[in-house]
Symmetry: none
Subunit: 292 residues, 2 copies
DNA sequence: CCCGATCCATGAATCCTCCTCATACACCCA
DNA sequence: TGGGTGTATGAGGAGGATTCATGGATCGGG
């Protein structure tokens, strides 16, 4: 038997990543001795020294670099193998390869998805995500999924816009609204309130109506990006969800609205069939991990 | 630990090949009991039944087919890993020393590969190419690569047969179709049209249908070689890709079909993992050089 | 210059995985 | 209904993997 077993491959990869036997052992939850034994066995099987051991740990030799590259590929292939075989058996289609169409509202597409898709690509390079920005008005992103134009939608979920009965979905995160106004403005509350069509659920609107300090004069903008740029140029103030405020310029000031502030739930919707597909499940897993 | 070990993969492949536990055990020099235990363990790890057991032995389920394809690929990758690591360590250059399995359709195997493999052998004598001729119907050569039975496939690539998403590939050359008929025939267009199953993409068929000068009566032959020999013996005429016409005897006459002639793309497909291996890269380099 | 810290190496003991042996079970056919 | 084909399964043993305990090498600092 000259082939390396998966656990041996994993140890090689860990040593390459942690740049040392002890560190790799720690990362894998095993003993330095086990790593040493295993690497030595792998080297014997392959007939080549894979790591230069030194004071500062272990660094791959040229042969070791090639071995690491192969080890990573083999491990990934084994991972995909498990996923596909299970998928075929489940009748979920079997492959996680191919395009994965995501409909998202603007702030999610800009501030939530990039990191998620990056990690998804790292773990499942065979998935090719396509993001389409859909205004969250009317049927919104859920409509895109219902109409078969998207596999998964990032949507606001609440009592006024629940998950449609023919779809499945879940809440990812509940985020609060915050007041945003020009930084350093002397009396920000005298500024007009800037708003945009997609903003706010009816629950939020009710909260809104109760706040007597809010000016009634409002200006309607195109989308949250336009609102934010109007605020940052001193034109007005706005009540926006936190997701829209990620990466806001220093020229705006964000004020928490306190414990009674309105919130909204951001979640996902998909079809029951697609919910079992490996690609959609992988994406949901990454979404869940991202909002934690 | 949910990943399958190499010995488990080998057992799966053997069972798939020998179509039975007992036969696989015999081929592997082990007990039927060991095979049974191992397959059961693999099924438990993957969470799917891989073989239907019956009177006549074992046949793979759908999940089993996928598992087998992956198993072959993983084992192949481990093989390449060993060879390359040893090669790097020896300072012999680091390319895979050993067999490189190529699946090609007939005309490519006969007219494109010989020169390519000659140059490959000159540059990398340690690579031992094995060519298997596969009819380009159904999943064709790409299927051989997907199932782990070949490292690289020479395939026709087009809208009707794109590179499968889980594979990687590229176009090598776009070649035209030409009319071929017996040399010196007085009215070649009155001859029947000879064809063979692998011939022509749907795009080509569409062009074909538009040509009112083409006779509708057709004769079906086994392969392009048979077609060419029928044409050369005066039996009929044919529309064939240029690759099939290399080395055609002087008894046939080749007529260019003009600028509107149909074309097909000939390319290669391989797995993402093998695409990085030195042997496959060397072969692709030679293929690219050859068609220039 | 030695002390301590921080690496990796190694031998023995333990635990667990995998294989074999022996046997049971299911099915088909003469 | 017995013999021949196949697979399933439990018990036991051999070998591999991990741990424990320890040794050896190398470097930086007092």
């Amino acid at each position: 038997m000259t082939d390396l077993a998966p656990h041996e491959l994993r140890i090689l990869v860990a040593v390459g990543k942690e740049r040392g036997f002890s560190a790799a052992a720690g990362a894998l939850g095993m003993t330095q001795s086990a790593v040493s034994h295993s690497v030595r066995a792998s080297e014997r099987k392959l007939g080549a020294v894979l790591f230069d051991r030194g004071r500062a740990g272990a660094t791959p030799t040229a042969a070791g670099e090639r071995a690491l590259a192969h080890a990573r590929r083999v491990l990934r292939l084994l991972e995909v193998m498990g996923a596909e075989v299970r998928g075929v058996a489940d009748g979920t289609g079997g492959t996680l390869a191919g395009p994965l169409r995501i409909a998202a509202f603007r702030s999610a597409a800009l501030h939530l998805l990039p990191g998620v898709l990056e990690r998804l690509a790292a773990r499942h390079p065979e998935i090719l995500p396509e993001v389409r920005i859909v205004r969250e008005v009317g049927r919104g992103t859920a409509g895109e999924v219902m109409d078969g134009r998207a596999d998964l939608g990032i949507a606001t979920i609440g009592t006024t816009s629940p998950v449609p009965p023919q779809l499945v979905g879940g809440v990812l995160v509940e985020e609060g609204y915050a007041l945003v106004h020009p930084a350093g403005h002397s009396s920000p509350r005298s500024l007009p309130l800037v708003d945009w069509t997609e903003n706010c659920t009816s629950y939020t609107r009710a909260w809104w109506a109760e706040q007597d300090w809010l000016p009634s004069a409002t200006v309607e903008a195109e989308d949250d990006g336009a609102v934010l740029s109007m605020v940052s140029s001193g034109f007005g103030m706005a009540v926006m969800p936190e997701l829209s405020l990620i990466g806001a310029p220093p020229s705006v000031q964000i004020t928490d609205l306190g414990p009674e502030r309105p919130t909204r739930s951001v979640g996902y919707v998909t079809t029951p069939e697609l919910a079992r597909s490996l690609a959609v499940r992988a994406l949901i897993r990454e979404l869940r991990a991202a909002v934690r």
